[in-house]
């Protein structure tokens, strides 16, 4: 708890610094509104029904996108991870597709799918599938053969060894991939709402603030909310990951 307080102190310190630099005129207030103004807007927004519905729309799109990304990424990763031939065959294709930024696909998706919820979900899936796919492939590729041999030595057959040894071994890595994907998907959904001018959502709201010049408080409040949401999701997943996989030292192995 003490460390939590320290972290909070740092966060509050940042907002305080922001307030002071703007109030003292170090940063002109037409650049950034002072933190207090953003905070007021932020609180007002939390009582705004329409805004909250937008946030719900964003979160719903995020949740669906993450679900679909897991549904694609994990099976594909399992397949590529356990069949080396398939992995090497698909390598160039994957390496080529991966660096295409989701945002670059926005014009493409807009003409084919439109700018409704399908569009943002599609793009968020595209952005989020990579960390899940790669972590799954990695988890299966890096499994210590001694571990599998030990399992076989106890009399487990190949399928049993896969279920009882390889999968538990891979789980924490896959989970880490999902966690990273969750952050990416949220950022992607909001970005698409912003760039493709969706009808609803947090990104749309920020876009409106940006278009009516002088409503930077609206932009900042929406952005802070997005940041807090992303941070909360990530922290929650880190916490549950630690609880779920107490035995795993993913960090040690994953960074080798």
């Amino acid at each position: 708890m003490r460390t939590f307080a320290k972290g909070l102190t740092g966060l509050l310190g940042f907002f305080l610094l922001w307030e002071i630099t703007v109030q003292a005129g170090v940063l002109p207030d037409y650049w950034v509104p002072p933190a207090s103004e953003v905070a007021t807007t932020f609180v007002e927004l939390l009582g705004d029904r329409e805004f909250l519905l937008g946030v719900v729309a964003t979160l719903l799109a995020w949740l669906i996108a993450l679900g679909v990304a897991i549904g694609i990424g994990v099976p594909a990763g399992l397949l590529l991870g356990s069949v080396p031939a398939l992995q090497s065959a698909s390598r160039a294709l994957i390496e080529f597709l991966r660096p295409i930024p989701a945002v670059a696909l926005i014009p493409l998706v807009m003409v084919t799918i439109g700018s409704g919820p399908d569009a943002k979900i599609t793009l968020a899936v595209y952005a989020a599938v990579w960390p899940i796919l790669f972590n799954t492939i990695y988890a299966f590729g890096e499994i210590d053969p001694v571990l599998l041999d030990s399992a076989r030595a106890t009399g487990a057959n190949r399928r049993q060894a896969l279920t009882w040894v390889a999968l538990p071994h891979a789980a924490p890595f896959i989970f880490t991939g999902v966690r990273v994907a969750a952050s990416i998907a949220l950022i992607a959904v909001i970005s698409v709402e912003y760039i493709a001018a969706s009808e609803v959502g947090l990104g749309r709201y920020i876009l409106e603030g940006g278009m009516n010049n002088g409503h930077l408080d609206q932009v900042m409040a929406g952005t802070v909310l997005a940041g807090l949401a992303g941070w909360a999701i990530n922290s929650a997943l880190v916490g549950s990951g630690k609880r779920l996989f107490r035995w795993a030292d993913t960090e040690e192995r994953a960074t080798r």
């Binding site: 950034v32 660096p99 932009v219 997005a226």
Partner: protein
């Protein structure tokens, strides 16, 4: 390793590379066939996209190696902005990460803040960046630096902290002066982590380059949105695929540098 196995290994690597590219070519062919079958304006044939791309890129005079205006007016400026901002971010990020990682308390206070800043979608800050820096290269650089900085900082902190007790003791017992400490012990040990951060940031830099250019109206991003609104779909597809090629090329280049710099790592050698 004996010569025969080395040769066999090389053969195997070449073989798998050949298969990889064969599959890649097959995918392109499949695209062509599907596009012919679908016969949709949104989904042009691969040959058409490539032809358009060749037109755009290779329309210049012979003395410029045929490179067209688009290369000099669109592609190179975009790349220069992305890479310049990324390099700036690397410089700041490694310095900041080293300072934070070396301090025993700084991360207690800044860790939460940095995770928060990193969760902020950089795209939504574009209005703020536009007001601060006006529409132009400065705004683009600011947006790229802001979004690529945090992964580099966090990875550097992590790497700097990975220096183990035995290495610290060894370096001290060998009389390493304090002023050489960071250069000789801390940064080399942190290098693998730093490179992981740099690679992640590079892909983010390209992403933000496109975003900033769509919003700010320049470079590749502008071409993407223009070709979409003027219904030049083959060219739009070409720019999308070009981003893939550029991303692949830049990532490969960085990997090559990494292999050179981190040649000492056991997992990276050829006969590991």
């Amino acid at each position: 390793m004996s010569i025969t196995t080395a040769a066999a290994k090389r053969g195997r690597i070449l073989g798998s590379a050949a298969v990889t590219w064969l599959v890649f070519a097959a995918a392109l062919l499949l695209w062509e066939l599907i596009a012919i079958g679908a016969d949709s304006v949104y989904f042009p044939r691969m040959t058409e996209i490539v032809a358009t791309g060749a037109d755009v890129l290779l329309s210049g005079p012979a003395w410029r190696l045929m490179l067209g205006d688009a290369v000099f007016d669109i592609v190179l400026p975009s790349l220069a902005t992305a890479l310049g901002a990324w390099a700036l971010s690397a410089l700041i990020g490694v310095a900041l990460g080293t300072a934070l990682g070396r301090s025993s308390w700084a991360m207690d206070y800044c860790g939460t803040l940095i995770s928060f800043l990193r969760s902020v979608p950089p795209v939504t800050l574009m209005p703020a960046f536009m007001v601060m820096f006006g529409i132009g290269v400065q705004m683009e650089i600011a947006a790229i630096v802001f979004s690529t900085l945090w992964p580099i900082v966090l990875n550097t902190v992590d790497g700097v902290r990975s220096v183990d007790q035995v290495k610290t003791d060894t370096a001290r017992s060998l009389g390493t002066p304090r002023r050489y400490w960071i250069g000789m012990i801390v940064l080399p040990a942190a290098m693998p982590k730093i490179f992981a951060g740099l690679r992640l940031s590079l892909s983010i830099a390209i992403l933000l380059m496109v975003v900033a250019e769509i919003v700010g109206g320049s470079g590749i991003g502008l071409r993407l949105s223009t070709t979409q609104s003027t219904v030049q779909y083959p060219e739009m597809w070409f720019w999308v695929l070009l981003l893939g090629v550029l991303g692949y090329a830049l990532n490969s280049a960085l990997l090559a540098v990494e292999r050179l710099v981190l040649g000492w790592q056991p997992t990276r050698g050829d006969d590991a």
